[in-house]
């Protein structure tokens, strides 16, 4: 019977060390630590994220895929800047770099925009690394241009599918839409070539999630992701504060879900009511702590930082 933890005792101690440092970092910077429920009656509507539903309770409850909605309700209630270390759950995500239950650090900075939040992430990671780190920033559009000589604004879906099949052999792209093609190319043709810490920002508006549209460029949203050697570590936004726009995005998610034969999800009316009542401008980010530990300890598999797999 193999009862042993899959992480080494050193990795377990390093996790405790970075949790202490994260709390000290935010406490000295005036962020309030909060704790929101892992089980809630509604869940994220993201088309590409599936929630685990808890059976045997009425009404049914969902294990949260991130604490975003609850934390935004705290922000609307006037909490000011907040952070949380928690577990999040995503159905079906299992592999060398994924576990259905994983650790997340999520924080919101009132008055920041996404570029200022990227500055703070750099400072946090440098603090946790105990050494100097180099960070680069590149827009999503520029990343595709530099890596694949591909112009995402003008390329046709036919040409995009052709590039997918050429760059990722063994792919049948005939049923992939534009965003799915871009996801495929980013994950399989671009990410493996990336080196060091890289922020990719200004995602296409069609991939905005809960990010605010950019004022400088109507085709993009103020969303960013952080990669280390191609491994995705964090996802953040200048947060969308407009309740009507947020409702439209939830409804659009459900429309796409219906077209793909996925289940419809109840919209979180309490989040929309909170936005309606007014949420201050802020930027927020979710950072995968298991993966950050993998990077800091130079480990290749998420198993090596988890006490036990699910």
């Amino acid at each position: 019977m193999n009862w042993q933890p899959s992480a080494s005792l050193d990795a377990i101690r390093q996790r405790a060390r970075i949790y202490r440092q994260i709390r000290a970092f935010f406490n000295t910077r005036g962020c309030l630590e909060v704790d929101t429920p892992v089980l809630m009656p509604t869940t994220g509507t993201d088309v590409n994220i599936d929630s685990l539903e808890v059976a045997g309770v009425d009404p049914s409850l969902y294990l949260q895929t991130s604490p975003e909605y609850a934390m935004k309700r705290l922000l609307a209630a006037g909490s000011g800047s907040i952070f949380q270390i928690c577990h999040a759950f995503r159905k079906g995500e299992a592999g060398r770099r994924h576990n259905p239950e994983f650790s997340m650090l999520e924080w919101y900075r009132v008055g920041y925009d996404y570029q200022q939040l990227m500055d703070e992430i750099e400072l946090l990671i440098t603090t946790l690394s105990l050494s100097r780190c180099e960070f680069q920033r590149l827009s999503y559009r520029e990343l595709f241009r530099q890596s694949l000589q591909l112009e995402i604004d003008v390329i046709t879906i036919e040409a995009l599918r052709e590039r997918c099949e050429k760059l990722v052999p063994g792919t049948d792209s005939s049923e992939l839409d534009t965003d799915q093609c871009l996801d495929l190319l980013l994950a399989m043709a671009i990410a493996p070539t990336l080196q060091g810490y890289l922020f990719v920002y200004d995602y296409p508006l069609s991939q905005a999630a809960l990010a605010r549209p950019s004022e400088r460029d109507a085709s993009v949203a103020e969303r960013f992701e952080l990669f280390y050697n191609g491994l995705e570590l964090a996802n953040g936004f200048s947060e969308l504060t407009d309740a009507a726009q947020q409702r439209a995005r939830f409804e659009e998610d459900n429309r796409v879900r219906r077209s793909r034969g996925l289940r419809q999800l109840e919209i979180d009316e309490r989040l929309l009511a909170a936005l309606e009542s007014g949420m201050e401008d802020c930027a927020g980010v979710a950072l995968g702590l298991d993966r950050l530990l993998m990077v800091l300890l130079e480990l290749d598999s998420i198993d090596e930082v988890l006490t036990f797999r699910n």
Binding site: N48, G92, E93, R96, H98, G170, D172, L176, Q180, A187
Partner: protein, 199 residues
């Protein structure tokens, strides 16, 4: 006949979340075995399974990408332990030691294994829809030398080797002191001589 028909009618399939090494699936009409499966997903984007597979008919290894959640037909492939009987030149004949049922594999299906096959030896025969498509010989076989240059007596300490033809037709490098008629143990995976075997 009815049984066979029914099995064909309710073809099993696997979802990408059941993918793992060794699973047998149909790709482009050919039975394939999964060698490696990697789950790839941008946090908020489409998830994919990047899979390395071996075509069990041709032996070729190729990469395939699936959207996660897609289903793929299962391949009706089973590996069975069978006893090698004989070859008539065109087919290699095997027998299931439990049912005594016989199978004839053609040259394509036997492939490189044919040079190691000795009557009575137990092999792994891969059956696809009930017919052989591959044969794996035992890891180690003991075969008689049927031809080699005369042995050099007293040369056991030297490291030299010479080619020797074995009873199945395989040619392996053996130490200089070995003679025609002697029995040797060979690793079929590397084709290397392991040791002399006392008769």
């Amino acid at each position: 006949m009815i049984g066979v028909f029914l099995i064909g009618a309710v073809m099993a399939s696997y979802s990408t979340n059941e993918f793992r090494g060794g699973l047998k699936i149909m790709i482009d009409g050919d039975p394939c075995a999964i060698i490696e499966n990697e789950f790839v997903k941008p946090g908020k984007g489409q998830a994919f399974n990047r899979v390395k597979i071996r075509n069990l008919k041709t032996g070729r290894v190729l990469d395939k990408t699936f959207k996660s959640g897609e289903s793929v037909d299962a391949a009706d492939v089973v590996d069975t332990e069978m006893q090698y009987l004989y070859s008539d030149g065109e087919f290699w004949h095997f027998m299931d030691p439990q049912s005594y049922e016989q199978q004839a594999a053609d040259s394509n299906a036997v492939g490189d294994a044919k040079q190691w096959l000795k009557a009575q030896d137990s092999c792994e025969v891969t059956l696809y829809n009930g017919s052989p498509i591959g044969v794996t010989p035992p890891n180690f076989v003991e075969l008689e030398i049927t031809d080699t240059d005369p042995g050099l007596k007293g040369d056991t300490a030297q490291g030299g080797t010479k080619p020797a033809t074995l009873e199945t037709g395989a040619v392996v490098k053996v130490p200089l002191f070995l003679e025609i008629g002697e029995l040797v143990k060979v690793d079929t995976r590397s084709g290397e001589y392991m040791s002399r075997v006392k008769k």
